[in-house]
Amino acid sequence: MTMLSEFVAGGRRVAAHRPAPRAVVDAATWHQAAQALGDERATLFGLWGERDAAHLALLDDGTGEIAVLSFACPDRRFPSVGALHPPALRLERAMRDLYGLVAEGAPDTRPWLDHGRWPNSRPEAAAPYDFRPAEGESLHRIPVGPVHAGIIEPGHFRFTAGGETVVRLEERLGYVHKGVENLMADATLERSAQLAGRVSGDSTVAYAIAFARAAEAALGVDAPPRALWLRALMAELERLANHFGDIGAICNDAAFALMHAHTGVLRERVLRAADVAFCHRLMRDGVVPGGVARDLSPEGSVAIRATVGEVRRRFPALIALYDNTASLLDRTVGAGYLRPELARQYGAGGYIGRGSGRDFDARRNLAYAPYDELRFTVPKRGDGDVNARVWIRIREVEQSLDLVDQILARLPQGATRIELPPAAGACEGLGLAEGFRGDVLVWLRLGGDGRIVRCHLRDPSWFQWPLLEAAIEGNIVADFPLCNKSFNCSYSGHDL
């Protein structure tokens, strides 16, 4: 029996939770699970609350086994996971802000998403934020944001620097908190799916897939095969567009605008093909619970094929340009080094984890359809710097091009959407999708009326933002934009 199944067996199993098991456990098992995370015998996959319970999702990286443990807390207190496993700390602070659950024994109880500006804010959230001190001779502090110089999302960075070198970075996020989970409570599946697709615009397809899979799991149905393949097609186009954008933007932040101009063209080509194929440049609202909203038109597949061909012709020269420009590599190699131990501890997904040796990709490790039938490799490196994260993206672009080819060649015929059955009583589902940035997790509970009771959406950025603080240490302040861009965490996905 695996450790995770032992945890589940030690509790009261919840019947209508699919596909992974969920069990309500006692304080002892909860503590053991937190300890297992702290000892890195399992990876923290999610931690969220509701009125009277805390839920903890654990992942076995190797086998892909997932379990959800719940701790009933009618008194709104639960034993802190963060006390044993720091990656849980910000999640616990958010649980306090949004659901009033207190993580007992947590070393950090500062408000996180609550800035003291909501109608129901906690009084202590209105106090000036207590940034951690950094002491030493002639250190100075640089506050940046929430409004930044570029066209990017808002967040606050507090640098402490000794001369040019960053001694400490502390992030303060939450500025774009829109209350998405709150809006979903008691909403229809249709409305909630739209909200899920608006959690992080760059990952709208990934979120929509994760949400749809959670809803379908809860209802015990499967989307038709053609729909699953079309979802994967959209997901790979989304990955391509974002990786092109990122590769260019990283080089641009190293003052190499030529790359940015060229990858910008490739990105635009992908978005235009997506527009022809799925009637929206970002493919928003294309994936719905039960299938996909629109079938792929013949012009759509022509447009996608043409784009793939164009990218194949142009991209190799750009890779060579990156690889042969010493002044550019001088900026990216060695900058923003993320230690593999930290990537593993935080369960960092996407190019951040894979650039620092964490060999995890939900498409392969959790092998959801149609990826179980597709051929692709997951690139991995151990050097953990900005350069590594660029190369992971480059290799993933190549893989995605192959995947798009395979999908178009083997796209099954048939229906693209099924009618969802009415919910037979309360039921719960867990859904995952590998977005360009990493794994997106969605958990939801449906009521007997088919409406959402509680839905939680966990962005990969939760386990990546804290690592940026570590990666920037010892770099010069001027390299922050470069390092930050190489992480490209989502503000909106995190703030929710």
Partner: protein
């Protein structure tokens, strides 16, 4: 790199012709822009983008305006890093309560004459997030005066371009 620079000189540019300014946008602006302001500014505008809680979808399309296909700068429109250099604030998102003060301060830091363009369904009226207690009811307009609305989720780059060109036309 030399190869790219050489090719750039001989290849046909990708840049598209300018779209016609949107009629609705022109009408809205004709009302909004004051004659005095028109004379004070030349035919070039500096734009400062402010994210007031967007999902980042609108930002992606604003970014696209800078790519070779849309090439915003050929119209004399450019993005600047500070509101103190800006004539236009391009504001996205439903206006979260946590961003309200930052938006108001950015607006105050922008010298007169200035215009505010609300970009995206969220910015117009809260969009998908309209009923959230975490957002300010009424979208961007609840905190700062809005001169032009550009709808869409997100608006296409051509829609953004139409709106911004209307802004230029109205002040020329």
């Amino acid at each position: 790199m030399r190869k790219y620079i050489f090719e750039g000189m001989i290849r046909r540019p990708l840049t598209e012709g300018a779209p016609k300014p949107g009629d609705a946008a022109t009408a809205e602006l004709a009302r909004a822009v004051e004659g005095a302001a028109r004379r004070r500014l030349g035919r070039s505008l500096s734009i400062r983008a402010v994210d007031a809680g967007s999902c980042n979808g609108c930002e992606l399309e604003i970014h696209a305006l800078n790519n070779a296909f849309y090439d915003l700068e050929r119209f004399g429109l450019r993005f600047v890093a500070s509101p103190r250099h800006a004539d236009v604030l391009l504001v996205t998102g439903p206006l979260t309560r946590n961003m309200r003060e930052a938006l108001e301060r950015t607006y105050r830091a922008t010298p007169d004459p200035k215009w505010v363009v609300a970009v995206g369904d969220c910015a117009v009226d809260g969009g998908a997030f309209a009923d959230s207690p975490a957002c300010v009811p009424g979208g961007i307009g609840a905190a700062v005066p809005v001169d032009l609305h550009i709808r869409g989720c997100p608006p296409r780059p051509t829609d953004l371009l139409k709106g911004l060109l209307a802004l230029l036309d109205a002040q020329a």
